[in-house]
């Protein structure tokens, strides 16, 4: 029957309807497995799901010239101009934004699909292949001006820009756009949302990138090593303050003050970059305290001790290191033994 209908489709409307139905069924039969096997990106699924994309609006001008599209004239000229300026500022700050305002009876899901398809079709981005744009589609039902809503579509490289990310967009939708749209004030909702996006991307910090494995390892090491070494360094600096200028026996293993200073400075020089790399707050505290102690020691305590020593006419006598004493003692003992022998 169907073959006969194919042959005689022009004979009657019934034959024509049969042919069309058969073609549809064939298309569905072939297309369904292909769609199921293909990648499920938002854009492709939206295009596949919606036949509304077939009549997508055309871009009227370059984005550098026009970023606000209002084909149904829901916003007056002045409002459009103001929003245009805000959109340009937002784009300069890092998010290439385009706003499309329309009257449509689409459901939110259909409007989302429309927004996604339009984003792909128009290539909303700051430069070719950057994929860093944001499309805001405002949909106002024809029968209910207070039932409007917005849909967002963005690229893979759009977020985050400081504090602006998908979660923040959702907050802006709930806190700013929806209340104004429910009042029927489309313009105010959109323009405040645009400014808020602009404000957040300029003035509100985002999350810092998390530590990688190397940084995490150093961070964990510093958590223990920095305080321990810092306390040792502090003691090495501070103890001589209370020993009347004499090098204390407790620090005899460092031998001299000069070696101690070289050690402490080296410790600080190594610790400071590690602190920044590993973002260790406790190491910052250690650097701070040891640094202050070092400055106090070099700048104030030691000169004061030297002044006191000068005033008391005390001479600084350089003695040979202990190793020399040991050597000379050994030589002496050998000589003594030889004499005995």
């Amino acid at each position: 029957m169907t073959i006969r209908s194919f042959a005689n489709f022009h004979a009657s409307p019934r034959h024509l309807a049969r042919v069309i139905c058969a073609l549809w069924l064939a298309l569905v039969a072939i297309g369904t497995p292909l769609v199921a096997a293909g990648p499920q990106t938002t854009a492709t699924s939206a295009i596949a799901a919606q036949d509304s994309t077939s009549d997508l609006p055309k871009k009227e001008a370059k984005f550098s010239e026009k970023r606000i599209y209002d084909p149904d004239d829901l916003i007056n000229e002045e409002g459009e101009s103001s929003m245009e300026s805000d959109a340009i500022k937002t784009t300069r700050a890092g998010i290439a934004v385009v706003v499309y305002i329309r009257i449509s009876d689409d459901t939110p899901e259909e409007a989302q699909a429309f927004a996604t398809a339009l984003y792909d079709e128009w290539d909303v981005e700051s430069a070719a292949r950057k994929d860093d744009g944001l499309l805001i589609v405002a949909t106002v039902p024809s029968d209910n001006p207070r039932g409007g809503f917005v849909s967002f579509a963005w690229g893979n490289n759009t977020f985050p820009v400081n504090a602006v990310d998908p979660d923040r967009l959702e907050e802006i939708r709930e806190e700013i756009i929806d209340p104004y749209f429910h009042q029927g004030n489309i313009y105010r909702g959109l323009y405040i949302a645009l400014r808020q996006i602009n404000y957040d991307e300029v003035f509100v910090p985002g999350d810092a990138p998390s530590l990688n494995a190397f940084q995490r390892a150093i961070h964990n090491i510093l958590l223990v090593a920095a305080p321990v070494l810092g306390i040792i360094a502090l003691l090495a600096i501070i103890i001589p303050w209370f020993t009347k200028g004499r090098w204390p026996r407790a620090l005899a293993f460092i031998r001299t003050r000069r070696r101690m200073l070289i050690g402490v400075v080296t410790f600080l020089v190594i610790l400071m970059p590690l602190t920044v790399i590993a973002r260790s707050t406790i190491s910052v505290a250690v650097c701070l305290f040891v640094g202050i102690a070092l400055v106090l020691d070099l700048g104030f305590v030691q000169p004061r001790m030297a002044r006191i020593a000068r005033a008391a006419n005390v001479r600084t006598v350089h003695v040979r290191p202990r190793a020399s004493y040991a050597r000379s003692a050994a030589t002496r003992s050998r000589t003594t033994k030889g004499q005995h022998a």
Binding site: N162, I308, A311
Partner: protein
């Protein structure tokens, strides 16, 4: 050993301390008493040292200072403390008077809004210090001060919102960028106090280059300056910058007197902190390093031109290290810089330069094209727009009910003072405290003149401060000239008043000739029987 008044014996830094009228060693290491050659004592110290053996101590009473053994030192009013305190209170009262009156400036929102930096400094790796507009556009130290002020005045230092200059006040109020009245009040009161401290420090600079009278005049000039009062009654950062600049002046003078490593460190740290407030003091550190190199070159290759080669060598070496310590401080107090200190510093300087350029372009009437234009603008600002003498003249005219608009002579006085100060610098040399102060003032002035691209009133505040110092020096010279002319004796013509000169210069003053045409009054020695109401003791004028 020389003990200079007014230190008390307990504060004398020697290994010996005065105990029961005898010098005792502080520790067991110093067992013998030192040889004391000459001791200058006054007041309570004199009475305490009376018991020392005469062969050990020779008591030389300081001329011009009257010892009052029976009176404790703490209760004595000391002019050295009293006058700065008077200046502080005088300036504070004027500033606080305008706190509620001064118009709102949008920048106030920025300084108050970032007051939470003081909290975040304890979390140097938090999101606050990420790379974004708030951190990469302004150095944070003024925000720290503002945060401390907010905390002291009981405000909540939470994350504030910053004024967006792209939009109107209505929008910024909507987004929460407008500070609340209480926050604004706290920020302004903080600045009022800082402005008063600046006036007090200007007095201290004035005392070091002149005398108390001149220093008082200079500080009072600044305290009454309309621009200073305006900046001190708004929550902006410019008074904080002025605070660091005048502190740098003081530290530089101390450093020039004694170029020790302590003084080097103090001055460099102040330069770094000042740079962390408004960047320009960092440039001052480079200027100082340049001077250091010049001094070292003179010491090494032209020692004949150097009056004190060793001093200049010390000064030169320690001036050369200034930028390093200052930059280290600058980076240390600003966690945003830690990740890339040099690159981000460069970005910040370029961003500030661009912003100033764009400010000049946005406000066309404020655009400053060349340094000559900048000088012209400074002249207009500090003589026509903001003038102490015009303000005081207006007040006087109002009191006397004259309908008179007095002219401004601020710049004339400032120039006169600057010329006299230049003569002083020429006489004492660049390596003296006067020379270093003059060099720093000149550099600060030069940085402002060259860098000024938008003629905002706040950029002129350091110049007003420098002008106050110069006027203070002029006042000092005038006071000295009047003193040498014995001009005070003119007042002897008033019946019932006799002036008795006391102090180190009394004899010298008596020996000099009396102004022509006036009768020389008979100077009577001060006796206990003299009626206190009729005898006025003049302070000994200092050089």
């Amino acid at each position: 050993m020389i003990i200079r008044p007014p230190v008390t014996p307990s504060l004398v830094r020697t290994p010996f301390r005065l105990r029961n009228g005898h010098l005792r060693p502080r520790s067991s290491r110093h067992t013998t008493a030192p040889t004391v050659h000459r001791v200058q004592l006054t007041g309570r110290a004199q009475s305490r040292f009376q018991q020392l053996p005469s062969d050990l101590v020779t008591i030389v009473p300081q001329s011009g200072v009257h010892a009052r053994p029976g009176r404790p030192m703490a209760t004595r009013l000391k002019l050295g403390l009293l006058i700065p305190l008077v200046i502080l209170i005088f300036s504070l009262v004027q500033n606080l008077d305008q706190v509620q009156v001064s118009p709102f400036h949008r920048d106030e929102s920025r300084w108050i809004g970032r007051a939470f930096f003081i909290q975040e400094i304890f979390h140097p790796f938090s999101n606050t210090w990420n790379d974004y507009y708030i951190t990469n556009n302004q150095a944070p130290f003024a925000n720290y001060i503002m945060g401390i002020g907010q905390f002291v005045f009981g405000q909540d230092i939470s994350i504030g919102r910053i004024w967006d200059f792209n939009y109107t006040q209505a929008w910024n109020e909507l987004v929460g960028a407008m500070p609340t009245p209480s926050e604004m009040d706290a920020g302004r009161r903080t600045n009022a106090l800082i402005g008063a401290i600046v006036a007090m420090l200007v007095y201290m600079v004035g005392v070091r280059i002149g005398n108390r009278f001149g220093a008082f005049i200079g500080a009072a000039f600044l305290a009454c300056h309309p621009l200073h009062i305006l900046m001190s009654s708004q929550a902006l950062s410019d008074e904080i910058l002025a605070l660091w600049i005048v502190s740098i002046f003081l530290a530089a003078m101390r450093f020039a007197r004694r170029p020790s490593w302590q003084n080097t460190t103090v001055m460099a740290v102040l330069l770094g902190i000042g740079g962390s407030t408004k960047l320009t003091p960092l440039l001052l550190s480079f200027a100082l390093a340049g001077l250091g190199v010049a001094l070292l070159v003179r010491w090494r290759f032209f020692p004949g031109f150097s009056p004190n080669p060793k001093h200049e060598r010390d000064l030169g070496i320690k001036l050369v290290v200034q930028p390093f310590i200052a930059y280290f401080t600058f980076v240390a107090v600003f966690p945003w810089l830690w990740v890339d200190p040099i690159g981000r510093t460069y970005r910040m300087f370029t961003a500030r330069a661009q912003e100033m350029e764009s400010q000049g372009n946005i406000w066309g009437n404020l655009h400053v094209a060349t340094p000559i234009d900048a000088l012209d603008r400074i002249g207009v600002r500090l003589s026509h727009d903001y003038s102490t003498t015009a303000r005081l003249g207006r007040i006087l005219a109002d009191i006397l009910s004259f309908n008179y608009q007095p002219p401004s002579i601020d710049l004339v006085l400032g120039f006169a003072g600057a010329i006299l100060f230049a003569v002083l610098v020429f006489r004492k040399g660049i390596a003296s405290q006067y020379g270093l102060l003059g060099y720093l003032m000149l550099c600060e002035l030069g940085i402002i003149v060259v860098g000024l691209k938008a003629d905002f009133n706040r950029y002129h505040l350091p110049i007003a401060m420098i002008m106050a110092i110069c006027i203070g020096y002029l006042g000092s010279r005038v006071w000295n000239v009047l003193g040498s002319m014995q001009a005070w004796r003119v007042l002897d013509l008033i019946p019932g008043i006799d002036f008795v000169l006391t102090g180190s210069k009394a004899k010298a003053t008596r020996d000099r000739s009396f102004p022509r045409g006036l009768r020389r009054p008979q100077v009577r020695p001060q006796t206990p029987s003299s009626a206190p109401g009729n005898v006025h003791e003049l302070p000994a004028s200092s050089d």
